[in-house]
């Protein structure tokens, strides 16, 4: 009797296990450190908005691929006029928004006109600045006329801020986002999680997951137990300090990739003595990038010599220009008449790369006679004092927008850098769409910034992803703010 029971129990167990093995998992819980303030990617700068919705819920005319390349999305193809000013987009047909509304040329016109309108609060309004007019040719064709040729126009249209929205739902996307993507929004438990489910009748390649939950985990100390307990299966942006606890665990995959985050020691170029080239160069010589990467980023992240990611195809390696050299730095300070050194402030925003890196940099600069007073600030204070009012000497920050070397040509930007030669190169770049020519101009731009030692170029922020070893298809790199789940699946 007992034997029978055992056999029966074993059979039931085997059956249960067997049926489980055949069906791969289709659900996923992803941990994100910050909660999005709202869910409309066209109305806010917070990276968290795009990291939940980009490519999953919302799609654009074009999209950015896992390695930063421009791919067709809702526009299946396009033609560009010879003068580079007219883009004619051919749209996919049969595309529907999640609320059932048809997607067509009128939605493209609506979305682009809305983003560039006078009262637009799009955080990246500059992406649309070149657009002169948007015309509907037929329901599946749109003609966009630019004021001037713009080399990066197709790339710009792939940003999360340029996604297509429907006139019916545009005003309510903050609370209930409606897009055309493979996942539709299901629920937002504020402060806790955002749930997406597979959309019905998706126009493109079907996705593998049925349900995805983005769970907000603000404290890095909670990452490891959440993974170990199986509550959360992926952290696309993991904390470098907790890495040791999961690195050698075969249940997890640790993936170190690149981002577009140039981490810099920003310098107020107008404020004496930083207006002197020798002083800025002395700072560059005084920096030991390896020590900074080891201390602030657990040894992960590539050193940079100018404002360009080493993962970018237009990258020029300028890290050798100012090798760590204390004598050289002192010499330059002497030339600048500051052989006795000087005092300055270093304002540090909250991220650990800034707070940890700041201490190392302060000690490195002390070696050449520059005494820094460290002032920790909140983000809100940083944006107010440093970024807006330019009330600072030095600060550390990571510029995470992709291809953003043009910030050095912006008037009134917080670097207070003004170089007509550089501005001319950026202006030319904007008008150039030829790839080889663009590469050349971008190379020159990088070189000028390095020569001028506009800021202390430190390192490229790494993307540290940790997820279940059975999970496939998550992005290794972060060429743009996104957690693209369209190719993600469980193996077995």
């Amino acid at each position: 009797m007992r034997l029978w029971k055992t056999i029966l129990a074993a059979a039931v167990l085997a059956l249960a296990a067997g049926s489980q093995a055949f069906a791969a998992r289709t659900d996923l819980v992803i941990g994100i450190p910050l909660e999005p303030p709202h869910l409309d990617p066209t109305a806010g700068a917070a990276a968290a908005i795009k990291e939940v919705l980009y490519a999953n819920v919302f799609e654009g005319l074009t999209r950015i691929g896992p390695n930063g390349e421009v791919l067709p999305d809702l526009a299946e193809s396009w033609t560009i006029s010879d003068d580079g000013k007219i883009y004619t987009f051919k749209l996919h047909t049969g595309v529907k928004f999640h609320d059932g509304a048809d997607f067509g040329a009128d939605d493209v016109k609506f979305s682009l006109d809305r983003a560039r309108a006078d009262n637009s609060v799009n955080a990246q309004k500059g992406l649309f600045a070149a657009i002169d007019k948007v015309e509907i040719i037929d329901p599946a064709t749109v003609k966009v006329t630019l004021k001037n040729p713009q080399g990066s126009f197709l790339y710009n249209m792939g940003w999360g801020d340029a996604v297509m929205v429907s006139p019916k739902s545009a005003d309510t996307n903050k609370e209930k986002p409606v897009g055309t993507g493979p996942f539709k929004f299901q629920n937002w438990a504020k402060g806790s999680s955002i749930t997406l489910v597979k959309a019905d009748h998706y126009w493109g390649a079907p996705v593998f997951l049925d349900k995805v939950e983005f769970r907000v985990v603000p404290d890095a100390a909670a990452y490891v137990p959440a993974l170990l307990s199986g509550d959360i299966q992926a952290f696309p942006f993991f904390d470098p300090d907790s890495l040791a606890q999961v690195k050698d665990d075969p249940r997890f995959k640790v993936v170190i990739g690149s981002t577009e985050g140039e981490t810099i020691l920003a310098i107020n170029n107008k404020k004496p003595p930083f207006n002197k080239l020798q002083v800025r160069q002395a700072i560059s010589y005084a920096l030991d990038r390896k020590a900074i990467i080891d201390g602030a980023s657990a040894g992960l992240g590539l050193p940079i010599g100018s404002h360009m990611s080493p993962a970018n195809k237009n990258y020029v390696d300028l890290t050798g220009l100012y090798p760590h050299n204390i004598d050289k730095a002192k010499e330059l300070l002497k030339e600048a008449g500051l052989e006795n050194g000087f005092k300055a402030t270093l304002k540090l925003p909250p991220p650990s790369y800034a707070r940890l890196g700041g201490e190392i940099i302060a000690s490195e600069l002390r070696d050449v006679g520059i005494n820094l007073e460290i002032i920790p600030v909140e983000w809100a204070q940083w944006l107010d004092q440093v970024f807006t009012k330019k009330d600072y000497d030095l600060t550390i920050v990571s510029h995470t927008e992709p291809n953003d070397i043009d910030i050095y040509s912006r008037k009134d930007y917080y670097f207070n850098y003004d170089n007509p030669t550089f501005d001319k190169i950026i202006a030319d770049l904007n008008l150039t769409s030829d790839e080889a020519k663009r590469k050349e101009l971008l190379g020159e731009a990088q070189k000028i910034l390095a020569d001028d030692a506009v800021v202390g170029f430190l390192y490229e922020l790494p993307k540290i992803g940790v997820w279940d070893a059975k999970l496939q298809g998550l992005w290794e790199n972060a060429p743009i703010q996104a957690n693209d789940l369209t190719k993600v699946k469980w193996s077995e």
Binding site: E35, P37, H38, G44, A45, A46, N119, S120, V121, A123, Q124, K125, G126, K174, E175, A189, K190, G191, S192, S193, R215, V216, V217, P218, D219, A221, A222, P225, A226, L228, S229, G230, D231, E378, W379, A380, Q381, L383, D384, Q385, F387, T388, H399, E401, D404, D412
Partner: protein
């Protein structure tokens, strides 16, 4: 004698019940009553009582108004612009200005204060800048986590602390006392986030009995929701229990030195009965005062535990709102908490007055 014992017992039951429901002041009043050695009787509100009540209410209202001014003024001078925070580093100054106008941030300070304070009077707490939903909705969602969590933690802490305090006091100076107070000292000293992490590793990672964090929401069912609050409640309760046990012990020891305890013993009541029936109830006032303070803390001061368990509680809402300069949320939540504390104090004050007529006329 038998009669009196029965009344006492009934009273104790009632006490116990109220205790679990809410550490209200009625309880304190009973303790106070007994401390004074008076006979238990209820005072009907008299004219002087009404006047006292009105006066207290007026003071409470004035405190609220004053607090609202301070809260508003202090937060408005914080550097930082919510519009710039939302739009980030790539937006132009014009755009930021536009958003500031849309958010109503460009109106004069006094006007904004009046608008906000006027709204509070009609229980309109305004709209969050970042979430763009009514603040009251946010608070209600967060209270669904924070209130049960605070209550469970408070109940746990009381269940642990009172018997431990009682045990310690009755064995003052002996080994049991030393050991339990040593443990309590440890409980006060251990940082609760560390304790929380240990709990997570044992019960969530190793035993897998409860989730490591997060809150599924009450819609997911009472048990899953409660389960996710268990570890945080224990992590919160233990340090509180340690403090409470020490307070209970010292309050009891003080009471045990009173003459009427000796009288009770002298008339032949067993030590146990004296301890439970006379000493404990009289020692309740300081214990309840601490409990009240702890409740206020548990409601909004649990940000660290909320972070470790990634719970969407009130503390995290305020913290997040401060970093995002969502000032209207911070201001309104702080005002709600101020109102809650004032209300609790008012009730305590009033109950003292019910017990002790002298308090009604004292300036």
């Amino acid at each position: 004698m038998a009669q009196s014992a029965k009344t006492d017992e009934g009273c104790w039951n009632k006490l116990n019940l109220q205790f679990v429901q809410h550490p209200s002041s009625d309880l304190a009043s009973r303790g106070h009553l007994l401390l004074q050695g008076e006979k238990e009787e209820r005072h009907a509100p008299t004219p002087s009582m009404t006047a006292y009540l009105l006066k207290r209410l007026a003071i409470a209202f004035a405190t609220l108004v004053l607090a609202s001014m301070v809260v508003f003024a202090v937060l408005e001078v914080l550097p930082g612009d919510p519009a710039r925070l939302m739009l980030g580093m790539n937006a132009s100054a014009d755009q930021v200005e536009l958003l500031r106008n849309q958010m109503g941030l460009n109106a004069p300070l006094v006007l904004r204060y009046l608008h906000w304070a006027g709204g509070l009077l009609s229980l309109d707490f305004g709209r969050s800048y970042t979430y763009s939903v009514p603040v009251i909705d946010l608070v209600r969602e967060r209270l669904a986590v924070s209130l049960p969590l605070a209550l469970i933690a408070l109940a746990l802490s009381t269940i642990i602390a009172i018997p431990v305090g009682l045990y310690s006091a009755s064995r003052r100076g002996r080994a049991g006392d030393t050991i339990s107070m040593g443990v309590a000292q440890l409980g006060v000293a251990v940082p609760n986030f560390w304790f929380a992490l240990m709990l997570i590793y044992i019960f969530a990672v190793w035993l897998r009995l409860v989730p490591a964090g997060g809150f599924p929401g009450w819609a997911a069912g009472a048990w899953p929701a409660l389960k996710s609050l268990l570890l945080p409640a224990v992590a919160l309760a233990l340090p509180q229990a340690a403090i409470l046990a020490r307070v209970t012990r010292s309050a009891l020891i003080e009471v045990l030195n009173e003459d009427y305890i000796r009288t009770a013993r002298a008339k032949g009541l067993p030590y146990r009965a004296v301890l439970w029936r006379h000493a404990l109830r009289n020692a309740m006032i300081p214990v309840l005062t601490i409990l009240g303070l702890q409740f206020a803390f548990l409601l909004a001061g649990t940000i660290i535990i909320e972070n470790v368990f990634y719970l969407p509680g009130l503390g995290r809402l305020v913290f997040q709102a401060i970093t995002q300069r969502d000032l209207i949320v911070v201001e309104s939540v702080v005002m709600l908490l101020v109102a809650a504390v004032i209300a609790v104090n008012l009730v305590v004050d009033l109950s003292y007055a019910v017990v002790d007529p002298r308090l009604r006329t004292r300036q």
